[in-house]
């Protein structure tokens, strides 16, 4: 526990900042269709928010917010959303990932727009889960008992 981690100012600022960063991340994901941004960038920013939290409040506290099991499930979920979208297109008679084959709305371009958003969300979920898990795995364990064996 370093001096920075004990500083009240930093702890408070981080606690206030994290929701805003996450909100911004969601904005970036959803705004990918009409401006710079997208699932990947948004996912990284969302992951960075939780990483920031874990850096200041400690890995254990971070893992309370984002457990390993949840992490694994989220990583799989994101990819499942993406692949399921692709397979749904096949079921609707199109090619793999042919969004405009899905007869959801009369205007195929609009269907495509919404499915692109869905896909971006899927990417975002996978990316945020993996980024957090990368940080948790690579950062130094806090106690001896967590030390990697081998």
């Amino acid at each position: 526990m370093s001096r920075i981690q004990e500083s009240v100012i930093i702890r408070t600022v981080v606690r206030i900042m994290v929701p805003f960063i996450q909100l911004f991340a969601l904005y970036v994901i959803m705004h990918g269709a009409s401006g710079p941004g997208g699932g990947f960038q948004g996912g990284v920013i969302f992951g960075a928010a939780i990483i920031l939290y874990a850096m200041i409040y400690g890995i254990a506290e971070g893992k309370r917010k984002m457990s390993d099991a949840l992490d694994k499930i989220l990583a799989s979920t994101g990819l499942t959303i993406f692949a399921a979208t692709g397979l749904a297109c096949i079921v609707c008679g199109g090619m793999f990932l042919q969004y405009n084959a899905v007869p959801l709305l009369p205007d195929p371009a609009l269907v495509s727009k919404y499915l692109i958003d869905l896909v971006e969300i899927g990417i975002g979920i996978t990316v945020l889960a993996v980024m957090i898990s990368l940080f948790f795995d690579i950062s130094p364990p806090e106690s001896e008992s967590e030390e990697v064996e081998e």
Binding site: S76, L79, G86, M95, Y99, E150
Partner: protein, 502 residues
């Protein structure tokens, strides 16, 4: 449209998507029950094998399959193209993958304890990467899947012998990153002068700008990149350590498949992106044949000097890759057939040999081949498989190795390169030398090392895939005419642009 027809249209993409989905669902499957992932992987690999077989059958019966991903027309979207070449490589990937996955049950439990779920997830992603690299008709998509297969290979190799495995994996990572960066640079160069990423489209645009130096540089970058990936002789530094120290399942998979897919990519880029005329014109094939000949000799000689069986097999892999590239570099139909047949031969026998090495290690904990004395009585089936696969590598008549070496020799004669015939003969003799040491130890050695000799055969899940592979080595030795007639001959002609649709 019935459900069956619906699936039949989408088989090309399903060959990649099935292992991908299975791969990222493995953590969830393993979370339900620790023992399930093995069945899950087998199921996925079996489905992939069916898909790959059906794809190849379609190609043989009705020609090349084109699949437009996302429904976009080729130069705009990504296209999947399955012709004889990648249909056949896909079948090999799926088949070897299934065999190794059956084998993996006991071996993974012992060598990667407590991490089986992640191991199987990465295993399936490796298959995904290799499949994707093979089927794609888009050079950037190729790069993405190349990276999937590389990352998984790094992880699998690092799971091997404690420190050595990690260091080997790191060295491979550095070389692999250089290779991938070179390939990315080559793709960028080609894109800069053609404005397309589709292989077929690129092949039609390139001939008009062959005098452009950028094209030549791109070819050079691709060749260097792939040479690192396949471990061609001067750039093989990562290969022996990686093969030696990986867990036996991973060694078999990587030795049996990764380099083969690298060779496939080399062939595809030389003849499917550039044209044979250009590649011959800039002497790339000649350089390739000489490098391959050097690799054959040096690999065989270095293999003799090894005492670790996996390291010996790794060096012999270097020389076998040389055979394949020699056949490809000769650019005549017979030599090309020999090279392509050798891809089949090498995947079957090298996979079998690594599986045998793994099985011996599993039962006895020995990898030093001077301690194998008396093993023939202890593990008769395993050692017989070893004998068959080794004979196939030497090229004894009646095994598939004989046919491929025969074609390679004929091809060399047709190209008026008698020196390569000599190289093939010398290398076969060297093969006999290094395998003879092991035969001698296994059957004729006095059993000092393995204390109480009683039959202690490898578990059934390990034996079945090894035996199947050995049987196939012999089967294709006698019936190699069928694959040659249906696959390799039209394929070789098509690759060299001698008529016949690809």
């Amino acid at each position: 449209m019935t459900g069956f027809e619906l699936i039949a249209t989408h088989l090309p993409v399903l060959a990649v998507v099935v292992p991908l989905i299975a791969g990222f669902l493995t953590p969830i499957v393993g979370w339900i029950d620790r023992r399930l992932p093995w069945y899950w992987v087998m199921l996925a690999m079996f489905v992939v094998l069916l898909i790959a077989g059906s794809n190849l059958a379609t190609v043989i019966n009705s020609g090349t399959i084109h699949y437009k991903l996302g429904g976009w027309d080729p130069p705009f979207g990504i296209e999947y193209v399955i012709d004889l070449l990648n249909g056949f490589v896909c079948l090999i990937i799926a088949f070897i993958g299934l065999m190794v996955s059956i084998y993996s049950l006991e071996s993974v439990k012992k060598e990667v304890p407590g991490k089986t779920t992640q191991f199987y997830s990465v295993f399936l992603l490796l298959i995904t990467g290799l499949m994707g690299m093979t089927i794609t008709g888009d050079i950037f998509n190729f790069y993405v899947f190349l990276e999937i297969s590389s990352l998984t290979a790094y992880a699998l190799i690092a799971m091997g012998d404690r420190g050595d495995g990690v260091v080997a994996s790191f060295n491979y990572l550095i070389m692999g990153t250089v290779a991938a960066s070179f390939i990315l640079l080559g793709i960028g160069y080609l894109y800069a002068v053609t404005g397309t990423l589709n292989m077929a489209d690129m092949q039609s645009i390139l001939p008009s700008i062959y005098e452009n130096r950028v094209v030549l540089a791109a070819l050079a970058f691709f060749m260097v990149g792939f040479s690192i990936k396949v471990g061609l002789f001067p750039l093989h530094a990562w290969l022996p350590d990686a093969y030696t120290h990986a867990p036996s399942t991973a060694s078999a998979l990587i030795a049996g498949l990764m380099t083969k897919v690298g060779v496939y990519a080399m062939i595809r880029f030389m003849f499917g992106v550039f044209t044979p005329a250009f590649v011959i014109d800039v002497n790339m094939t000649e350089i390739l044949t000489w490098a391959a000949a050097l690799a054959i000799i040096v690999g065989s000689v270095l293999a003799i000097a090894q005492s670790d069986i996996k390291r010996m097999l790794a060096y012999s892999s270097i020389s076998q890759i040389g055979y394949i590239l020699l056949g490809v570099g000769l650019v005549n139909v017979i030599g090309m057939q020999g090279g392509l047949l050798h891809i089949l031969n090498h995947s079957l026998m090298k996979c079998a040999l690594f599986l045998v090495a793994g099985a011996i290690f599993y039962r006895t904990g020995i990898r030093n081949l001077y301690q194998f004395k008396g093993l023939g009585k202890k593990m008769p089936v395993t050692t017989t498989v070893f004998l068959v696969a080794a004979l196939s590598m030497i090229g004894v008549p009646g095994t598939v190795g004989f046919t491929s070496k025969w074609y390679l020799a004929l091809g060399s004669i047709e190209a008026d390169q008698w020196i390569f015939v000599a190289v093939i003969l010398v290398s076969s003799l060297l093969n006999i030398v290094y395998f003879w040491r092991i035969f001698d130890n296994i059957w004729f050695g006095h059993p000092h090392e393995i204390e109480q000799i009683k039959r202690d055969e490898a578990p059934l899940t390990m034996l079945i895939p090894m035996v199947i592979l050995a049987i196939l080595c012999v089967f294709f030795g006698f019936f190699s005419c069928y694959p040659i007639e249906y696959i390799f001959e039209p394929l070789a002609k098509a690759l060299l642009g001698l008529g016949g649709a690809p």
